[in-house]
């Protein structure tokens, strides 16, 4: 099962095995010195949660309209991914691996529209690594 979301005019899906919950974006505290894709820190019931600009990681033009955070975890990292809109939970056909993006597991065709299936661990790893190289 996947959570379907919107970034700008494009549709993406996040595997439910990585999704813990969805949140309102709320106020974020920017972290100077962090990777560019880090939007800031979110207060999740007393836990400090890093929020990531998913559109920026995927190389899309940032719309600045993100209103929701999808809390994801991959065993190494835990972060909120900012998205413009949440759709629904849905099963998807097996994604074909022809998107050419290192952050997508592939694209799935649903009702003639292409949905990018996000490789959550790859997204999180790249942000953590970018943080490292900016620190260096």
């Amino acid at each position: 099962m996947y959570l379907r979301v919107r970034l700008g005019s494009e549709h993406y899906a996040l595997g439910l095995e990585h999704v813990l919950e969805v949140l309102e974006l709320g106020d974020l505290t920017p972290v100077p010195g962090a990777a560019a894709a880090v939007l800031g820190l979110h207060n999740l019931r007393g836990e400090i949660l890093a929020s990531v600009d998913l559109a920026a990681v995927l190389g899309l033009a940032t719309t600045g309209q993100a209103r929701h955070l999808v809390l994801v975890e991959d065993g190494h990292h835990r972060a909120g991914l900012a998205v413009d809109e949440l759709f629904d939970l849905a099963a998807l056909p097996e994604p074909s691996a022809t998107t050419g993006s290192e952050f997508l597991l592939g694209g799935a065709l649903v009702d003639g529209a292409l949905i990018g299936v996000v490789d959550v661990p790859a997204v999180l790893d790249s942000v953590a690594a970018a943080t490292v190289s900016e620190a260096a």
């Binding site: 100077p32 010195g33 400090i48 890093a50 490292v132 190289s133």
Partner: protein
């Protein structure tokens, strides 16, 4: 495979560590000619208990080693005397036993490297931190309720006010109890020191007696983790540089056996940990320099700390004194040193009791709030006229000219224009003070400091973040980092003089591992083979060494490390155009294909598994990659 629960294994491991420590200390006392009255019985008892316990949890190899220790002790027990010649082999057997206890105890490839038997503590810390989070939230929630009801209503309703007060008291009590769970006695890390001192002294041809006192002093677990390395370094320095060889001591009218003390005690709201020796102390010229600059620790850290004329393989390398100093400062503590020629040396580490809770000074800069540990701020001043001195802005505070830095620049934020009369926090030691300018000081609040999370561990400049009573998040600034970066755009970075001049033709290798033992092992192997070796205790320190112009020919790195792990280090090196081609060898306890693959994908040039670790494999790999 045995079916012992992880919990039981942890209990066994902790108990084994304690017993092994007591065995080692007892053996050292025997060797020193001062055996405790029941030495043999004590050794026998511990070995016997270990044998039984190891067998019970299915560690047959460990059980067999314990059994062989018993065998060696048996005749001694009959004769009622343990020959000091046996001590060395018994100590070796103890080491083997420790390895057997730990080595077989990491069945999962992601477990922390073997000889750190406190992995259970880490889990516990997380749980404690989660409780701390919940308590913090409860406090904020209570304030929200009070706010909703309205302060006037609360005060006018005596019963309501009483109930709210009672809730606050309960929450305070709860918070204190949880914080208390984060602390451990210093004795949890001192067990290894007697043995380390013995080995180091033996190696250096010195005679040293180590006295340890105050080990019941409580400290934050997170602080203890990093403290062991810092103390080890101070002990090493004392033995290698401070303490004279026995003949020299005799000629100087001192006892042949030098006295080294490790002493901890609470001092106000801090804990002081003191490492003192009765060795030769600093040289007259260093003493004069220190008198002039007002800070011995500053002079020593800068000089690379070498009071000995000759070059010893032990000190002047590894974590430098400046690293010890930095480490203390990064957790809101301080390193102080006292010495005079001929009068020994006393190094004092002053630390906060807990990292988790402290008073923060909240300031605003560029529309964002930042918190400083209040203990790091000497005073707050209004910035009037600034002057520039050698191109650097400075401000005058009561006759002293202090360099002025901008908080935004120091942490890497966009430096928006400061108001016409900004405020500045005066920080640092006399002689290296800085005033950090911000838009305004907002106030003071007691905060619970939390980590920025796994994604952000490599972001420099922060101790963490805290949630304020209004629910907003404030970044807690690392005072040491800000001090270093204050006014960096205008400062000229002076190269650190290296402690040891090395032959030019030796290839330079950077060894990165969080475990002192592994680091030293790799260092000595490479050193003996003629490489010029520098060490770092985590990825972050390694990156610093590389970017500080270390011009290394190769990096040997562990995978599992705090701060920044091996893969992170690798990724950082590969993404830096200047060092992208630097060969990196990953050495780790993990042998799974998955890790090998991740290492290879991240661009590792070679991969050595610790379990298969041997000298020739390391030298062969390093030689091949450096091309000689």
């Amino acid at each position: 495979m045995n079916t012992v629960s992880p919990q039981l294994m942890t209990v066994f491991r902790e108990e084994a560590e304690e017993r092994l420590g007591e065995i080692a200390n007892c053996l050292l006392a025997v060797e020193a000619g001062q055996p405790p009255p029941d030495a043999i019985d004590l050794l026998f008892r511990h070995a016997h208990s270990l044998k039984g316990a190891a067998s019970m949890v299915g560690l047959e190899q460990a059980s067999e080693i314990a059994n062989s220790i018993e065998d060696v002790l048996a005749p001694a027990r009959e004769e009622g005397e343990l020959a000091p010649e046996l001590v060395d082999s018994l100590l070796q057997a103890t080491d083997a036993l420790r390895q057997a206890v730990n080595g077989e105890l990491s069945p999962s490839p992601t477990a922390t490297p073997a000889s750190r038997p406190d992995s259970s503590v880490r889990v516990a810390t997380e749980k404690v931190d989660r409780m701390l989070d919940a308590v913090g939230e409860a406090v904020i929630q209570r304030r929200r309720v009070e706010h909703l009801v309205g302060p006037h209503e609360v005060h006018s309703d005596e019963r309501l006010e009483e109930e709210i007060d009672r809730e606050q008291r309960l929450l305070d009590e709860l918070q204190e109890a949880v914080l208390d769970m984060r602390t451990l006695p210093l004795s949890s890390i001192t067990g290894r020191f007697p043995r380390a001192v013995r080995d180091l002294a033996l190696n250096e041809g010195k005679e040293v007696r180590l006295d340890i006192a105050g080990v019941e002093t409580q400290l934050d677990r997170v602080l203890l983790d990093g403290l062991a390395d810092a103390i080890t370094h101070l002990l090493r320095n004392a033995i290698a540089h401070g303490i004279e060889d026995p003949d020299t001591r005799e000629r100087a009218g001192k006892p042949r056996v030098a006295r080294l003390t490790l002493h901890a005690e609470p001092r106000g709201d801090r804990v002081a940990i003191e490492v003192a020796d009765d060795g030769r102390g600093v040289s007259a010229s260093l003493y004069e320099q220190a008198q002039r600059s007002g800070s011995l620790v500053g002079v020593l850290a800068e000089a690379g700390f070498s009071t000995a004329d000759g070059v010893s393989p032990l000190a002047g390398r590894g974590v430098g004194l400046d690293a010890v100093k930095r480490q203390c400062e990064s957790v809101g503590g301080r390193l102080e040193m006292e010495s005079a020629p001929g009068e020994g040396m006393r190094a004092t580490i002053l630390l906060p009791v807990t990292l988790a809770l402290f008073d923060a000074l909240i300031v605003e800069r560029g529309g964002q709030r930042y918190g400083f540990p209040i203990a790091s701020v000497t005073e707050v001043v209004a910035v009037g006229d600034t002057t520039t001195l050698v191109g650097r802005p400075s401000v005058e505070v009561r006759g002293e000219s202090i360099r002025l830095g901008d908080l935004a620049r120091a942490v890497g934020a966009d430096p928006s224009e400061l108001p016409a009369s900004p405020q500045a926090l005066v920080m640092g030691e006399p002689g290296s003070r800085a005033a950090i300018a911000c838009d305004r000081v907002v106030g003071q609040e007691e905060v619970v400091v939390k980590s920025l999370g796994s994604m952000m561990t490599a972001v420099p400049g922060y101790l963490g973040a805290a949630i304020l009573s209004d629910g907003g998040i404030v970044l807690i600034v690392d005072p040491a980092y800000v001090l270093r970066n204050a006014g960096r755009s205008a400062t000229v970075r002076r190269a650190q003089p290296t402690a040891v001049p090395e032959p030019k033709d030796a290839a330079r290798v950077l060894v990165v591992d969080d475990q002192f033992i592994v680091r030293e092992l790799e260092r000595s192997i490479l050193d003996t083979a003629g490489y010029q070796v520098q060490t770092a205790c985590d990825g972050r320190e390694a990156l610093r060494a590389i970017s500080d112009g270390g011009s290394f020919d190769l990096v040997v790195s562990d995978l599992q490390m705090p701060e920044l792990d091996g893969l992170g280090l690798l990724a950082a090196i590969r993404s830096d155009p200047e060092h992208a081609r630097l060969p990196v060898v990953i050495v780790t306890t993990q042998g799974s294909e998955d890790d090998r693959r991740r290492g290879a994908e991240a661009g590792a040039d070679a991969y050595i598994v610790k379990n298969e670790f041997d000298q020739s494999a390391l030298l062969e790999t390093v030689g091949r990659l450096i091309g000689r």
